[in-house]
Amino acid sequence: MTQATDKLIIGGREFSSRLMVGTGKYASFEQTARALEMSGAEIITVAVRRVNLDRSKESLLDYIDLKKYTLLPNTAGCYTADDAVRTCRLAREAGMSDFVKLEVLGDEKTLFPDNEELLKAAKILVAEGFTVLPYCSDDVIVCKKLEDLGCAAVMPLGAPIGSGLGIRNPYNIRIILENVSVPVIVDAGVGSASDAAIAMELGCAGVLMNTAIACAQDPIAMAEAMKLAVIAGRLSFKAGRIPRKLYANASSPLDGLIG
């Protein structure tokens, strides 16, 4: 197995990179563009917001080569299925693509998903032909329900959005991986490159992050670190790690020792 042939397929589309990145919280659009480039990501998330009439002439999309990236519009800030569905319909009209990152939040403090509203929205969106990638709890039952509804992937959180706490419950992620067939992408919670590698070593199909890169002291360097971590984690998973043992096992031959 080599990295070159190990493609990620979502909604019938093939991607070489397993790192997906957000475009929020950067210091400037130039910085966003450079970080995206360095991350190697092919799928990037965007938010849908009202056009501001007092805006400057520049917008994020002036800095992004749409031939290089697949836009994944999100429903960030939506707390009901109705608002999320409405946002997705607008996103499809604005972006001419069916891909959506569906998030329906339950609470401003935790930004945890409202799974009931999430399932309701997912059902409507799948019926309308969207390729739905839902941000969800790290709960296998919810993930299975999302898969059964026809979502193209499931995106359980590693930890709260923007928290940088890492993969807080790797066992839950493992249970999800063993019980759903669609790609499992850890979305939210990654803080450092090792967190991303852990997600990939668990067997996840990809990792989605924003804050860990955008709010790092050097976002461009962190984007590269994340790119390498996702590649390394994936290769490590595919290569198959050694079993953990309590005691030592010498790496050098025991025969031929002097004396």
């Binding site: 957000g22 475009t23 929020g24 919280k25 950067y26 966003t32 998330t45 965007v46 938010a47 849908v48 917001r49 009202r50 056009v51 009439l53 917008s59 994020l60 999309l61 836009l71 519009p73 999100n74 960030a76 409405r86 319909r89 607008l90 996103a91 499809r92 009209e93 604005a94 972006g95 959005i161 923007g162 939210a188 992050m209 924003n210 804050t211």
Partner: protein
């Protein structure tokens, strides 16, 4: 005449279509989506769709997000 755009009342030329409103506001049609009284207006309908006094219109676009 007056319409409500993105939550704020604005004065526009009577008889404006969505196409002409976007031009008046200097907004590129390619990168936005428009909702008129809670229904999405497909891009192909921007020229045909005329606005009436009191209409509620939402014009959205993509911004940075996670």
């Amino acid at each position: 005449m007056q319409i409500v755009m993105n939550g704020d009342p604005i004065e526009i030329v009577a008889g404006s279509s969505i196409e002409s409103l976007l031009k008046q506001l200097d907004i590129s049609r390619e990168r936005v989506a428009v909702e008129l009284n809670a229904d999405i207006v497909p891009k192909a309908g921007y020229e045909k769709q005329l606005l009436s006094d009191g209409d509620k219109i939402e014009i959205v676009h993509f911004v940075g997000g996670g």
